[in-house]
Subunit: 412 residues, 2 copies
């Protein structure tokens, strides 16, 4: 209610409900006010089959969900044995004792059932209220979102007469905008059938496409249009379901039995961090060099002072020498180098903020490309990181590395 | 309701209302359903002094705000002369004729008053309903947001007895859990006054505390309790408002006129990436070494093979040698090194997954600490990155680096 936090949980839930062919009926947001919570739960339960309550499960005094639901349902609060043992296990794994505040998270409405929360200390719980299934869930997005598909959707599906014969194919694309993709789909598939629903979800920098056939017992329709889509846009597809770009790159490296080294200037370690955020990355990642200053470019990776002087740190020559240096120092099979102007300052007329050079190669061949990403610093770093990882992925898989990434990002 | 659009209008309005010392009471979101809109308007008007209705003013058949409000207030719909002339002016400036769809935007509840919308074709309008001032506004953010300060806030202020004297202080803390902090506050301040409201927001890995005094003309109360809070928890406070840990570290480095180098194993570049995500970081950051393999630890930073053999890569000896190596190679004033087992595999009985060593120092002294963070890989990397940055921040500021980070994270 303060406006400090933008709610993305309800969007995530609404998007996920599409898989069941459902649209939410009412969303209501109220502050930490017991009376208002109680009346809202009663009012919404009276007009709904399922009510998802989000937030207010924490250990502090302004976390009122359990007491409000108990009051709404006219049951008492009791220490729930499963919630307690979950909390105890959570605490013992971390080697500390539960305080009174922690224990409050196990004080739940009597006769409620627990919903597992694998990513946090407070479990969710369900209770019947006025013929409505009320599901109370944690507000922290990293806890809530994994619970939607694992815990909420199955309970919602079980609740009623909801088609269980739908098929959903999720494809993950990188390098194309949502509107660009929509235009190309309209153009490429004038005959796309109405029974095959196409959903978009932007999870920067990746777009997820859902191909959904609901209520049909005939999955061949889904398979057929997934195949046609893949044939047309396969170049941009990095994987299925929740595949991240770093996962796709690491998988390509693993299957090619190659190790990568990375020399980063403007991304400051973000590429190395993305690759090593994935389990098992030590098999495919050798070393990272965050060569932020010109001195470090020379000293760590042997870029020649005359190259830096003549062409500058943001130049084809410099990134090519960084690749050579990274291959030499690390002994890895492949190397990737990046140097650019992330801004907000540091640009010039010749090389404005947003200019970035990337090079990648092995001990025999190196390629280089220039991009222009005139977007804020954080977006620049995130986009440059993603493009760089995708270029190496494409190189390894034998796909074109001359792809026109996003229509709006012009090469200069 | 589809989840396709994230609502930022209500956040913008709530943030703006803070200037009047107001917090919204209820937010309700419903789809394009006349009956539900009418009942929602009546219900909300009955419990509020002001109701802002956002969206549904457009020219299409699913834009129902005007007809719903008319039905809720039991008045008829009529073509509003001011709305009509606004529309006509808007169209003539653009050189086109108004269609029937356009004209629908001038059909408003009888006796309503117009709110100017300088950035769009559809004006807003207000109507009294059950003693509540209902203000209907366009949903397009670029139209709505400029109207908040110009049109909505003055009408809300005129509506009643609103104090313009609230004060909000936002403090950002790192190194303590929400529940631990709540316990310590209860213990330290049994006399915390009811008029001073305390709000928590977890923005992993930082906690934000809001100290709010509403409706008091006496800001000294806020200042006094902010001072008492700061006196008690100052050690954990990294800054005010939206301060990030990387910002706090970079500021400390800048003010001390020091440059940092970072040698990372288990965090894989995430520390360097966090530091360099901040504008101006080239002034305080010299170089990053992502020494993922034992070979790289030796070759890039001169860790001795016998140290690695006798003590292992995750050891006090190794991280201390990494600091020495990073200082030597980079010539920076300070260096930070980290080596640990992020998991999910790679642990042993002696060094289980979650074990991590950190060392930091300058050319004369190096300190080292061990932590145990038995949490999933992403959380491990994020938490280790944050602790490491905070240790350097504390070192520079002369604060204790022996702090007991989070009660649940025990040193082993």
């Amino acid at each position: 209610m303060s406006g400090d936090t933008v709610d993305t949980n309800s969007n995530y839930l609404a998007q996920s409900l599409k898989d069941l062919g459902l649209v939410p009926y009412i969303k209501k947001v109220v502050g930490d006010d017991q009376e208002l919570l109680v009346s809202s739960m009663r009012e919404l339960a009276a007009v709904s089959d399922v009510l998802v309550v989000n937030g207010g499960l924490g250990p502090t005094i302004d976390d009122l969900t359990a007491t409000a639901l108990a009051e709404a349902a006219e049951v008492s609060i009791a220490r729930h044995p499963i919630a307690l043992s979950t909390l105890e296990k959570w605490a013992s794994q971390r080697g500390f004792n539960l305080t009174e505040s922690n224990l409050k998270q196990a004080d739940l409405p009597e006769s409620c059932e627990i919903i597992a929360n694998p990513h946090g200390s407070a479990p969710g719980f369900t209770l019947e209220l006025r013929g409505c299934l009320v599901m109370c869930t944690p507000g922290v997005p990293s806890e809530f979102k994994p619970m939607v598909e694992a815990e909420l959707l199955p309970r919602i599906r079980d609740r009623g007469d909801i088609a269980a014969t739908s098929k959903i194919t999720r494809l993950r694309l990188f390098g194309i905008t949502e509107s660009g993709l929509q235009d190309l789909i309209n153009e490429s598939f004038p005959d796309w059938p109405g029974e095959v629903d196409l959903g978009f979800r932007v999870q920067m920098p990746v777009i997820e496409i859902k191909i959904v056939t609901v209520g049909s017992s005939d999955n061949t329709l889904n398979d057929e249009w997934t195949a046609r889509f893949t044939h047309r846009f396969g170049d941009y597809i990095i994987g299925r379901d929740s595949t991240r770009l770093s996962q796709a790159l690491n998988l390509a490296l693993l299957e090619a039995n190659k190790k990568l080294a990375v020399a980063e200037s403007c991304t400051g370690g973000a590429i190395a961090a993305a690759i090593t955020s994935e389990p098992g990355s030590s098999t495919v990642f050798e070393a990272g060099f965050v060569v932020y200053s010109n001195e470090m470019k020379q000293q760590m990776l042997g870029v020649s002072p005359s190259t830096l002087e003549r062409h500058g740190a943001v130049s084809e020559e410099t990134v090519r020498e960084l690749v050579t240096g990274a291959l030499g120092v690390s002994g890895s099979d492949l190397a990737l180098a990046i140097s650019g102007i992330a801004g907000p300052s540091g640009g010039s007329d010749e090389k404005p903020v947003g200019t970035v050079w990337m090079a990648w190669g092995d001990h025999s061949t190196t390629k280089a490309r220039k991009f222009f990403l005139p977007i804020p610093r954080h977006a620049f770093q995130r986009t440059a990181t993603a493009i760089a990882m995708d270029l190496v992925r494409r190189q390894i898989l034998g796909l074109s590395t001359d792809v026109d990434y996003f229509s709006e990002l012009r090469r200069r």
